[in-house]
Amino acid sequence: MVKNRHEDLGLSNEKVIEIYKTMLMARRIDERMWLLNRSGKIPFVISCQGQEAAQVGAAFALDNTKDYVLPYYRDVGVVLTFGMTAKDLMLSGFAKAEDPNSAGRQMPGHFGQRSNRIVTGSSPVTTQVPHAVGIALAGKMNQEDLVAFVTFGEGSSNQGDFHEGANFAGVHKLPVIFMCENNKYAISVPIEKQLACENVSDRAIGYGMPGVTVDGNDPLAVYQAVKEAADRGRRGEGPTLVETISYRLTPHSSDDDDRSYRAPSEVAEAKTQDPIITFGAYLKETGVMDDALEKELNDQVMAIVNEATDYAESAPYADAESALQYVYAEK
């Protein structure tokens, strides 16, 4: 039997099952989105597949009653952990009025839900990084015990906003966790054409913060790294840069054909490390989950996804004229 690593991290069996179930939920929602896209029901999908362990492992290390998350477009696992539901996500996929992210104004993957402190995001990459710093600054000014958690891809770590935001947080010792979800590609551009450094985490020292690289297919490794970063932040010791290494299992988005720039064999190889499979195996090997429970969880998740899909599909769009609302505050 494999070593039980989650107990050492203070994670109960129930917790790790929750983590697994959330990862599975993210995966199943995403898979459904692709089906809906390929059958012409929704115009666009951008995937979390392959990054669920990193996302859910990280989000579980935060306090979803007070921390702020600034997810990037792949972070289905993060927002699920912070309270967004499958229904919310499906409403967003279908661009319906009830979508809490934007009432169908934004593409799917542009998360935002104030009640859950999921901070509204945009398409231009990396702009959320300074926002996280601003939220941490505001929290500090108001003596609130909060951590701001922000994610981005390895390609996006090359934007000026990463540099400027990280440096600001470093100088002001703010409780920010910068998590780079390194999935080895930025659309078609492979990591060696994006970065000259070994690891994105090598950049941390330039901002006076610790940087760690962890296995993004292992939710427990990510949990641990983010937990330490959150603890540091809460202790007033400043920000941390965490890099998770995984692989993007789908094309970049539903508009992309990845066969033009990477070999199917490379993808197939990466799929052997699929975190849903490997973490499932861990849970079985540690005796936390058996086949029956696995099936039960899967059935529960599928039922929720099915219901969410049906609901969202038949929900109404926002009225055309509602496009005129909320440019400015309305009295």
Partner: protein, 327 residues
């Protein structure tokens, strides 16, 4: 009523708002210990401490972006761009983020922040310390752009901007800072953002402008008055979104319109003012719409000969007003 300078009105407005609301804070380059390169935040560091008057690293996108984050949290940041010319690196944060936070989240989030910046020429600032940058932003719904001309307006509009629930770009004419003085009440007042202001009533010609040029127009109007020409002067005050009603009213009143900006001409905000007039009260016009602006060159040069050639000044304004009156 005390007479104070334009820049002192800036400081006064910030101080009063910081005293009133603990969520208001200042961030920018050299705004703290030094009190700003123009001294607009002078004394605030001593009064409110380094945590509310933050000397940031030299990075405008972070200044704007950290401000956006703090504003989304619920604070009311006042970010200073040291010169309007240096707002360029922050444009992504301003246009993609600040302007769109409320809209994209369907009113779930908002971004109540002010970005202040000194703009304008005539101070030997050369290409990169003289520009008018408002036209770059004056096509972005979600933003408001305020450009006051008098100390009274500065105080009332800056306080309104700080209390506004949406992002406001507040551009201060750097040559007006110490040149323009005026009466400013010591007590609390706000002026409405989005409203133009008639700075002079007149019957023969209408001048529509903003910022320092308002003063040039008023000076010229005095001279014209002694020749029996009566000029109506409308100060836009908010250049985006424009006060269409006031523009149409002012244009219709005399039927002869001169639009003035210190910016380069093509694509400046007075083009939009002309369009509003041409769309709404074309048949009230007795003369073509006239525009006085800087030449279409990248920015004003440093050498005094060329700088003077670029700048709008009272003589150029007077000449244009006379020409229009005689049309």
């Amino acid at each position: 009523m005390p007479v104070i300078s334009y820049i002192d009105a800036v400081t006064m407005a910030i101080r009063e708002e910081m005293e009133r609301d603990s969520q208001v804070f200042v961030l920018g380059e050299d705004v703290g210990k030094k009190g700003g390169v123009f001294k607009a935040t002078h004394g605030l560091y001593d009064q409110f401490g380094e945590h509310r008057v933050i000397d940031t690293p030299l990075a405008e996108s972070a200044i704007a972006g950290v401000g956006v984050g703090a504003a989304m949290y619920g604070m009311r940041p006042i970010a200073e761009m040291q010169f309007a010319d240096f707002i360029m690196p922050a444009i992504n944060q301003i246009i993609s983020e600040a302007a769109k936070v409320r809209y994209r989240s369907n009113n779930d989030w908002s971004c109540p922040m002010v970005i202040r910046a000194p703009y304008g020429g005539g101070v030997h600032g050369a290409l990169y310390h003289s520009q008018s940058v408002e036209a770059i932003f004056a096509n972005q719904p979600g933003l408001k752009i305020v450009m006051p001309s008098t100390p009274y307006d500065v105080k009332g509009l800056l306080k309104a901007a700080i209390r506004d629930d949406d992002p406001v770009l507040f551009f201060e004419h750097k040559r007006a800072y110490r040149l323009i003085k005026g009466e400013v009440p010591a007590d609390d007042y706000v002026l409405p953002i989005g409203k133009a202001d008639v700075k002079r009533q007149g019957e023969d010609i209408t001048v529509i402008t903003y910022g320092l040029c308002v003063h040039f127009a008023l000076q010229a109007a005095e001279k014209l008055a002694s020749d029996g020409i009566s000029a109506h002067v409308l100060d836009l005050r908010t250049v985006y979104p424009l006060d269409k009603e006031a523009i149409v009213e002012a244009a219709s009143k005399t039927g002869k319109v001169l639009l003035i900006t210190e910016d380069t001409k093509e694509g400046s905000i007075i083009g939009e003012v002309a369009a509003i007039i041409a769309e709404n009260c074309l048949f009230d016009l007795d003369a073509p719409i006239m525009r006085l602006a800087g030449p279409d060159i990248p920015a004003m040069p440093y050498a005094p000969t060329m700088e003077k050639y670029f700048m709008v000044n009272p003589d150029k304004v007077e000449k244009a007003m006379r020409e229009l009156a005689e049309y």
